[in-house]
Subunit: 132 residues, 2 copies
DNA sequence: GACAAATGATACAATTATGGTATCATTATT
DNA sequence: AATAATGATACCATAATTGTATCATTTGTC
């Protein structure tokens, strides 16, 4: 029952650090030292964020990453979706089979209620709100 | 981001069915037909519920399972804990390392808030409330 | 221009969790 | 004695997670 996987977690921490150093370029090597996270893994994660236009990158000596968006507009739900796919707490395991309750499944309804709350919350948390 | 795993799901459906047939003993073979779930897997699940005193079992011909508790007192959070372990949305992946934020981690706090809501909800849903 | 330091892309690998199967022992009914 | 059920337990297959490794490309510095 993990809400956030490790890559998402690392991504959020990296984004927070980069947001706190908004005016300069941050290299993966620095992030690795600060966050104490495996460097090749973190590289992969940041490259994804770069492809998704959350970060901008600069190659070459002195290169690194910098935010491509206002941290007040980066929602953690978006980052989660990038690394974890669609956010659903809810998948019905019997969907292809003859589920006796079909659309009236009470369990499903209750879980959906919870899911809606969780998504609302996640959609309200920004990188900016994580700083300090 | 799965709230409920497949074994928990099957367990809840099986418990619901058994609760609807409160006055008699239900064999795994019948449940398998009704729920259309793999029989050996469901057996394993029900044996766990039996060990945990959620179900009582009767061996031998004509045997099977029957509720050991009032369905209004079986909470789905308990069933989830049995199959999924402690319910935490929250595990910090840097816990052993030098997390720069330590106890003040804002992300952790926000996730904890969500977690508390989810747990409160899950602790309020009983097998009885799933019937019909 | 050569070298060093950075990211881009991508393939591969190790570990763990999930979702099962298989088998033998035990018990109870007929 | 045979049959039909659960108890216990070991095993297995697949997928997801959590990484590593490598080579290509770009850019700054000497």
């Amino acid at each position: 029952m993990k809400l956030i996987t490790r890559d998402t977690d690392y991504a959020l921490r990296a984004l927070s650090f980069i947001a706190q150093n908004k005016d300069r370029i941050v290299a993966v090597s620095e992030l690795t030292r600060k966050l104490r996270v495996p460097q090749p893994f973190l590289r992969k994660i940041l490259q994804v964020l770069s492809r998704r236009r959350i970060l901008s990158s600069l190659k070459g000596q002195g290169g690194g990453f910098i935010l491509a968006k206002d941290p007040a507009r980066i929602f953690i739900a978006d980052i989660m979706r990038i690394f974890q796919g669609e956010l659903k707490l809810n998948e019905c395991f019997l969907k292809k089979l003859a589920c006796p309750h079909k659309k009236a499944c009470v369990l499903r309804k209750k879980i959906t209620r919870i899911e809606n709350y969780v998504l609302r919350e996640l959609n309200s948390i920004t990188i900016k709100s994580l700083l300090q």
